[in-house]
């Protein structure tokens, strides 16, 4: 059957949820092969097979981890050259999109980013201009390269062979120019990752000060949600920039998005508008966020949020 390559996104070998989503999606288009780059493949193989990878290409040698995007595109180009897949699916993350872009140049193939679905014939569905238009597009030259947003498909297991194939890579000098000297982690642990979470609770300038993010965290924890923030909140240093939602932060598309004390500026909307259900709490009835909501509360968040959290906890314990 036609081979569809899926680039594995992983943390020290543990595949991220988006990888399992892409394998699930790939099964509807052909036979998925996972491409694992970096260290830790042994931790990944079982999971990749469980979600339908017939083959797992592993490129783990050398010092691949010291470099960023360019070597990944080189590895993929090498595999595409060897096995001629019908398409390459890549997670639509900042790095994934860059890998896709470089791969497109190498293969002289079309690239489509931020797909929210891929149909027969590799027709990609996108939502553009902050959700104002639904677009479907396709690649007319080369091997379709499509980046797919997290949360676009529900991951479902479908065990397959997961046969390992080692890929030996010789990186070009050009791919080794940008070298990683250090990796700094600033993220707060414990909660689901923002782009992968089913529920996201975000706080904005309405919180008044950083310590009040405790209200947001408490609400998030009552729902098992991830915590997001508007740029006003990250710029003020109230919450880490890694949690910023919006045009220059992360794009999220959860089942439920809760905007607390956020006005709904266009740059914020750009990162959350495709969420399935949207609710907001804001004391200004004119706040633009209310144009998007399924349910909104006009009121002071310092009254509404504690009551809401308490109510959710009560319902969970009864």
């Amino acid at each position: 059957m036609a081979e569809v390559l899926v680039l594995v996104e992983h943390v020290d070998g543990a595949p991220k949820k988006v990888t399992l989503e892409l394998l699930t999606l790939a099964r509807s288009l052909g036979e998925p092969s996972a491409v694992f780059i970096g260290n830790g493949a042994d931790n990944a193989k079982a999971k990749l097979a469980e979600y339908g990878a017939a083959k797992v290409y592993v490129a783990g040698d050398g010092d691949l981890d010291s470099y960023l995007v360019a070597p990944k595109a080189e590895v993929l180009a090498q595999i595409v050259g060897a096995v001629s897949p019908v398409a390459v699916l890549i997670p639509s993350t900042p790095e994934g999109k860059e890998v896709a872009g470089r791969l497109a140049v190498k293969l002289d193939s079309g690239v489509i980013t931020d797909a929210v679905g891929v149909d027969d014939g590799f027709v990609a569905r996108q939502s553009i201009f902050g959700g104002a238009f639904n677009v479907s597009s396709s690649v007319n030259r080369g091997t379709p390269i499509i980046t797919v947003r997290p949360n676009s498909t529900a991951p479902e297991p479908a065990p397959a062979a997961g046969a390992e194939e080692q890929v030996s890579v010789t990186l070009s000098d050009a791919a080794k120019k940008a070298k990683v000297l250090d990796r700094i982690t600033e993220k707060k642990g414990g909660r689901p990752e923002l782009t992968e979470a089913a529920i996201v609770v975000s706080g904005g300038r309405g919180l008044g000060e950083g310590s009040n993010f405790a209200l947001i965290e408490k609400l998030a924890d009552s729902l098992g949600a991830a915590v997001g923030a508007s740029r006003a909140a990250t710029d003020a240093g109230w919450y880490p920039h890694t949690n910023q939602v919006g045009q220059t932060g992360k794009t999220v598309s959860p089942q439920l998005y809760m905007a607390i004390g956020i006005s709904g500026a266009i740059q914020h909307r750009a990162g959350m508008q495709t969420s399935k259900t949207i609710v907001a709490v804001n004391k200004d009835p004119e706040a633009p966020i209310f144009e998007l909501v399924d349910f909104g509360v006009v009121g002071d968040l310092f009254n509404v949020v504690p009551q809401l959290t308490e109510e959710i906890e009560k319902r969970h314990s009864s």
Binding site: V105, V111, T185, T248, Q307, L308
Partner: protein, 259 residues
Amino acid sequence: MNIVVCVKQVPDTWAEKKLSATDKTVDRESVDGVMNELDEYAVEEALRIKEASGGEVTVLTMGPDKSVETIRKALSMGADKAVHLVDAGLHGSDALATSYALAKALGTIEHDLVILGVESTDARMSVVPAMLAERLGAAQLTFARKVEVGDGTVKIERLTDTGYDVVEAPTPAVISVVEKINEPRYPSFKGIMAAKKKPLTTLTLADAGIEADKVGLGGSATTVADVAARPPKQAGQIVKDEGDGGTKLAEFLASQKFV
């Protein structure tokens, strides 16, 4: 350091955007154009590097005649000269074609660094910088929230999912910047006057050595098959907090099975 800043004119973020009915490209005529917001940060960063270590800043734009407005803005902020790649044959270029055309145009300008915004607000692909690095064989230093220029090297802090990476490369390099990097200046009156006298070179496809069949709608490797305005969202339910707003919201969440 000689620096080229790639800036794009985009439809005003706040304007209602339209897609052309005939060829499904962004209708750039019917709405006001502005410099892509993120490219302002790229111009600012280029100017700061120049102010610290000398050299020249050239603005490069590919786009219709109207894009001159954006070029003028970059020049009035303080860039030294500009190159405008403008040709009817470019209309409808996708990312693959755009990166090819920009790379060709860059071939006509001497440079150590190319600085771009991390994303254009209309295409929103965030791929042109990486594609340019690939085409030029230059180091890719993208998603920078901090740039430090050394002697023949550049070091950046690259924003990541979990924090940032410190990445270093020799020049020439392609850099893209995020909005955390600086505060773009406003053009001064003096700057606006001076901009009128700054050199602006116009390039056609032939001038830049661009093969016509690799750009424009015909040369693009992606085809937009269908465009549909999303049906307007049903107006949501909005309640005023009368002391029970939190409870009401919890009831809504429960009715949707989130609780």
